[in-house]
């Protein structure tokens, strides 16, 4: 039965996250945007303690109480709330993160247990993922970081960039980075494998933390692997090079993370839309739906379009999550959600700043920050273009060789 209403327990839990967003994130949002590389210690500790308490009480990771059949969907709803608060701060929350997602997708049960156990106790920790390299952006298959086997170790060499929470994972906590490297350059995509590089491993170092347009509370690290040696069992899954397999792990990770990134985008867009809505309400400007353009103001039409774009993105996102929760293959739908949400939130926030005029452009309010935060959603976890390419391949039945 088609239905668009969230379960009561998800709504209830979403309120909890909304409260965190409103009371813990919004008040420090501007500060950590301006103080780019400073740590929001208090917030991080609070979020970590909250997660530990939840786990101790037998609840599930960041989702908390939830229906098992709506795991990803619930996450999307909660992530939207938190990113409504602050997307940069959200990305900085301690936990397994994208590195954890890679382990969940590619690791053996034993590896999952071994690498993820640390998130159940102690001090805040971060898991991160490193794919992108200076010479390869969207083209993950062009990875040049190498993993060479030497006795009981894999020796990693290369440079990784745009690694979210990389510094926190490697230098500020007992965390790890999952590094994608090729074990056999001749094997192309099939040779690309994920390796867990622990905090403190000799040969790995953070060489730069980027200054960014937005999401400044999040650390985006460049990482050097210089004869970095990791034990053999840090390679996730099987070391065997099977045609296409290595890449499929990356892809499986993306199928799960893209809808969540889409939800992040929607959170930022909704923040902007709510700002405009509240403001217009204060000004007693009513939005009239479904009337003719000769009566409707340009402002009303803009607002309605923004709202509908965002809702369209949200529905696509929820569907991609729902499919995953149902065990259905969702790469097409995940890419649709990501492509739509990234573009929608970019446009919505840009338009919101315009509509608010001098108030939109001023750093007195957070609206301008959301416009800056928003743009990353059109770029990371596969740019707009990469996602359209994936969609095009699917709908046309073309391989990545036939359509590139």
């Amino acid at each position: 039965m088609v239905d668009f209403e969230l379960e009561p327990q998800i709504i209830e839990r979403a309120k909890f996250y909304h409260t965190i967003a409103e009371t813990m994130m919004r008040p420090i949002s501007r500060y950590y945007d301006e103080h780019e590389h400073e740590e929001p210690q208090e917030f991080l500790q609070a979020m970590w303690r909250g997660a530990l308490a939840e786990r101790a009480s037998g609840q599930q990771g960041e989702g908390g109480q939830r229906s098992q059949t709506a795991r990803t969907l619930a996450t999307a709803v909660f992530v939207e709330e938190l990113c409504w608060g602050d997307a940069g701060l959200f990305l900085s929350i301690p936990g397994p993160g994208l590195g954890g997602a890679a382990i969940a997708a590619a690791g053996t049960p034993e590896q999952k247990e071994r690498f993820l156990a640390r998130f159940k106790s102690g001090e805040p920790k971060w898991g991160a993922m490193a794919i992108t390299e200076p010479g390869c952006g969207s083209d993950s298959a062009a990875i040049t970081t190498t993993a060479r086997r030497e006795g009981d170790y894999w020796v990693l060499n290369g440079t990784k960039i745009f690694c979210t929470s990389g510094q926190r994972a490697l230098e500020k906590s007992d965390g790890f980075v999952v590094v994608w490297a090729t074990v056999d350059k001749n094997a192309g995509r099939a040779g690309i494998k994920p390796f867990v590089v622990e905090h403190g491993t000799p040969g790995v170092s953070v060489i730069r933390v980027e200054n960014k347009l937005g999401i400044r509370a999040s650390d985006t690290a460049a990482i050097l692997l210089d004869n970095c040696r990791v034990p053999l069992d840090h390679l996730l899954g099987s070391p065997e090079v099977k045609p296409e397999r290595g890449f499929k792990d990356v892809m499986a990770t993306f199928d799960a993370t893209r809808p969540i990134v889409a939800a992040m985008a929607i959170g930022v867009g909704r923040a902007a839309l709510d700002f405009v809505r509240d403001f217009l309400k204060e000004q007693k400007i009513e939005i009239r739906y479904g009337i003719r353009p000769s009566r409707m103001t340009a402002l009303e039409r803009d607002f309605i379009e923004m709202e509908t774009e965002l809702q369209a993105a949200r529905l696509l996102t929820w569907r991609a999550c729902w499919m995953l929760d149902r065990g259905m293959r969702n790469s097409l739908e995940a890419s649709m959600a990501k492509a739509k949400a990234g573009l929608a939130v970019t446009r919505v926030t840009q338009k919101a700043v315009e509509l608010m005029g001098p108030l939109g452009y001023s750093r007195k309010y957070l609206l301008e920050k959301w416009m800056r935060d928003a743009k990353i959603n059109d770029i990371y976890e596969g740019t707009q273009q990469i996602n359209l390419l994936i969609i095009a391949r699917r709908i046309l039945g073309y391989s990545s060789k036939e359509l590139r």
Partner: protein, 369 residues
């Protein structure tokens, strides 16, 4: 609980109607457009599918099913995927029947629903639109005034499908009762041959050429029993939303037709040594079309479900319709573009879909589910 899966019954409706649209409607579409007429036989076959009378009680000639806006939306998407003009023709009896079913008095249902049922396709229709550039369903210029013997009705209507043969009409007018907007919008039942009901020439439009639609001039006196649901009920908003959902779903159907046709063409057609679908400019265009069609459908479904839950869904339905209308236009335009010169000639259906798709932003109240 969030769910994107249709019920088994809805899936069956989709399959049955979809098959009919592919096998029977689509092959007849071009000829219908060029000749500006639809074979009676096709309409009769479509009527046998039962779409327009399914939710009408058995004792009044229907099948006694449960009415669902979502199921209706699923069905009309498929019909419009076949052809929009034919789809609108097929669904015209519902324009008359569904509002009476939903908001009419028992007396009205007993008297008039049998006109919209039976084994023969029934000619009954409704009139909402008006021949004005800024037609607005919330501000009708067709006026109803209460008089001692009932009501007077004055005004002009356009886009009244099948008016030429209709035995009865549902005419929407603004009742001058002090209320504003939707609260004052009422439907009146007008029988053919009523004094003061003048049928204009059959309309000629850019698209939907196969659909016989007409202008009406109204200068009528009606009895007190003509007002649907009585004077005190308020239903304008909900009926308009039901119509907007129907049009949204139809827009999705037209867009899907244009998308699939141009996608297949792009895979077949070679230029510069490869299928044009392998060029990013074309491939990305198709990817966006596919994505936006999905988005439109979800917005339409959301509005449909809101109506099925009893709301008037003014916001959801108007947003869905705006969105789906512009997506349908854009997709049809892209389809013509992808076919290039071939898209511009009437050998291929895409130019017809472009003409039909342009209609959505203009049409209100010509379909209901």
């Amino acid at each position: 609980m969030i769910d994107f899966e249709l019920s088994d019954e809805q899936k069956m409706v989709r399959e049955t109607v979809g098959a009919f649209a592919r096998e029977r409607i689509r092959p007849a579409a071009r000829q219908a457009d060029e000749s500006e007429s639809i074979p009676q036989e096709l309409i009769q076959q479509a009527w046998q599918l039962g779409l327009g009378r399914e939710p009408i009680p058995e004792e009044l000639g229907g099948f006694g099913g449960k009415r669902s806006v979502l199921t209706g939306a699923v069905a009309v998407e498929e019909l419009a995927y076949g052809d929009l003009a034919i789809a609108l023709h097929i669904m015209t009896p519902a324009l008359f029947a569904f509002p009476i079913l939903e908001v009419g008095t028992d007396e009205q249902r007993r008297t008039y629903l049998p006109l919209a049922t039976g084994d023969e396709f029934p000619f009954v229709t409704a009139a909402l639109m008006e021949p004005r550039f800024d037609f607005d369903p919330t501000a009708l210029t067709t006026r109803a005034r209460k008089i001692a013997s009932g009501f007077t009705l004055h005004g002009a209507k356009c886009f009244v499908p099948l008016a030429g043969e209709a035995r009865a009409f549902l005419v929407y007018a603004q009742l001058e009762n002090g209320a504003h907007g939707f609260d004052s919008v009422k439907a009146f039942i007008v029988e053919r041959g009523a004094k003061g009901l003048s049928l204009g020439e059959r309309e000629k439009n850019m698209g939907l050429k196969a659909l016989a639609s007409y202008e009406l001039a109204l200068d009528l006196e009606l009895g007190p029993e003509s007002i649907v649901g009585g004077e005190d009920s308020s239903y304008g908003a909900r009926l308009l939303s039901e119509s907007r959902v129907a049009l949204s779903a139809m827009a999705v159907g037209v867009a899907k037709a244009a998308f699939e046709y141009s996608r297949d063409y792009a895979k077949e057609r070679h230029a510069f040594g490869a299928p044009i679908a392998t060029k990013q400019a074309i491939a990305f265009m198709l990817a966006e079309m596919a994505l936006e069609i999905e988005a439109s459908r979800l917005l339409a479904w959301q509005a449909a479900v809101a109506l099925d839950k009893g709301g008037d869904a003014i916001k959801e339905a108007s947003c869905a319709k705006n969105y789906a209308s512009s997506v349908a236009l854009k997709v049809a335009d892209n389809a013509v573009q992808i076919l290039g010169g071939h898209g511009y000639i009437r050998e291929h259906p895409v130019e017809m879909w472009l003409r039909n798709a342009r209609g959505f932003a203009i049409l209100e109240g010509v379909a209901i589910v």
